[in-house]
């Protein structure tokens, strides 16, 4: 694994915008950054990332199978009791997952380590699936990268295949916070792939979902919402005004309610409990677990619910070295062993390993000058050389 500095395409901004990738620059700062790329060998991809990703996903499914009807697990994850039946029913009904992204620490030498699982509302899929691929093709054409270069990336075609599992539904609604540029872009991309799979689609803001007297959720045209993709976390759904109506409404959701278990950072200590010393896991404990003392005074502290690195803190020798501010933490914290991210020219990359319908199929890399990857971290492309 190497970080290779390279020239950027002089027209990449126009190319991005013509593809609908408008959030390539955020608050005047680069989000998409092709002034360098990460290069991997095929072996690093296949044995270092692809195989562990499949194995971690299998472990996660085993964990859900154990936790789904177990009061003790659900309480430890602070999942509101009122929603246990919704979560359990979706699992036993085999409601399908579309996608997820594992965040891994990987340096090309030792085993990849799971930092967390973005199981419910992962973003950055458009840039991983499409724009990163465009960079590879144009980079080869323009002699920016070697002609032999390839990429671990079949996200786009696997998404279309995965959507085909849902074509029994008459219509797919895609709901999210549509005024958020990045979320709107993610929804637009997923809508595109769903449409290519043959689904009729409607985009809707979560706020605009209505409720009919017959208990059906409806869109702005009063059309019943039979199947909905939501780019909106389950824990927010549970606490919002219509949360209590989820139990009786017939809508099927993507990601399904059972993903509320896997999007919780509490799975990190639970996985460590179930699979102790697994090479792709880091030691982790709930903060109120006396065994957390095994980590000593240096660890990473994460809220059970958190996104984009918010409220994550690095604690070293009992002192908080670095903390991302944010609104999370009310439900409690976990502690995870500190696994320093590798440094490449002073940059810290985190590997995002994508699963579509449980198949590992692509990479995204977020890079930051600090060891906490947050919402200002830059997206760099990758190649297999």
């Amino acid at each position: 694994m190497q970080r290779i500095v390279c020239p950027e395409r002089d027209d990449w901004r126009a190319t991005a915008e013509s593809a609908g990738f408008d959030f390539h620059t955020i608050d005047g700062e680069r989000y998409w950054d092709e002034r360098a790329y990460y290069a991997f060998t095929l072996d690093e991809i296949e044995r270092g990332i692809e195989e562990p990703t499949a194995e971690i996903d299998a472990m996660c499914l085993e964990l859900v199978g154990d936790a789904i009807d177990d009061e003790e697990y659900l309480r430890r994850l602070r999942i509101p009791e009122a929603f246990w039946p919704l979560i359990s029913e979706s699992w036993h009904r085999d409601d399908a997952s579309l996608y997820g992204r594992l965040d891994l620490s990987f340096d090309g030498r030792g085993p990849a380590k799971l930092l967390e699982y973005n199981a419910d509302t992962p973003t950055s899929i458009f840039e991983a699936a499409v724009f990163q691929w465009t960079w590879l093709e144009q980079g080869i054409e323009r002699n920016i990268i070697p002609k032999r270069a390839d990429q671990f990336n079949s996200i786009h075609e696997r998404l279309i295949d995965a959507w085909k599992k849902f074509v029994h539904a008459r219509h797919l609604h895609l709901a999210g916070m549509t005024e958020n540029e990045e979320d709107a872009g993610t929804l637009a991309y997923l809508e595109d792939t769903a449409s290519q799979a043959g689904l009729e689609t409607t985009l809707i803001d979560v706020e605009d979902i209505g409720l009919r007297e017959d208990g059906n959720f409806v869109d702005l045209d009063n059309r019943g919402i039979e199947l909905a993709f939501k780019l909106y976390p389950w824990e927010w759904m549970f606490h919002d005004a219509f949360g209590a109506k989820l139990l009786s409404a017939p809508t099927r959701w993507i990601e399904p309610p059972w993903k509320a278990i896997l999007s919780n950072k509490g799975i990190l200590p639970l996985l460590w409990e179930m699979f102790p010393n697994h090479p792709n896991l880091l030691p982790a404990y709930f903060e109120d677990d006396p065994d957390a003392a095994r980590l000593g005074s240096s660890f990473v502290r994460k809220p059970l619910y958190s996104r984009e690195g918010a409220n994550v803190a690095l604690v070293s020798a009992g002192t908080t070295l670095m903390e991302q501010q944010g609104p999370y933490g009310a439900e409690g914290y976990i502690r995870q062993a500190f696994a320093p991210l590798p440094s490449f020219s002073g940059q810290y990359p985190v590997i995002g390993s994508w699963l579509i319908d449980h198949t590992p199929c692509g990479l995204s890399i977020r890079e930051d000058e600090t060891p906490i990857t947050g919402n200002t971290s830059r997206f760099l492309p990758h190649a297999i050389l």
């Binding site: 549509t178 990045e182 809508e191 595109d192 803001d205 979902i209 209505g210 501010q325 944010g326 919402n375």
Partner: protein, 72 residues
């Protein structure tokens, strides 16, 4: 290995300009749905600004579905 793949968009970008409205809401440190406000002590706090799932009361019982309001 996978160089023969075709990645085609049919709705996004120039394939269908305006297929989705991409707002120009600046990213904020509070995360989606919250905005920084100055508290009584002069420090910044995150306060929810998004009404969320079921947060638009006039949508209850199916009334008022005639027009799109955009988000929070």
């Amino acid at each position: 290995m996978k160089r023969s793949r075709r990645v085609v968009l049919t709705l996004m970008g120039s394939a269908a300009i305006g297929a989705v409205s991409m707002g120009l809401v600046p990213r904020q440190d509070c995360g989606p749905g919250s905005a920084p406000v100055v508290g009584p002590d002069g420090r910044l706090y995150c306060r929810p600004t998004y009404r969320g799932f079921g947060g638009a009361p006039h949508r209850l019982h199916g009334h008022g579905h005639g027009g799109h309001h955009g988000g929070g």
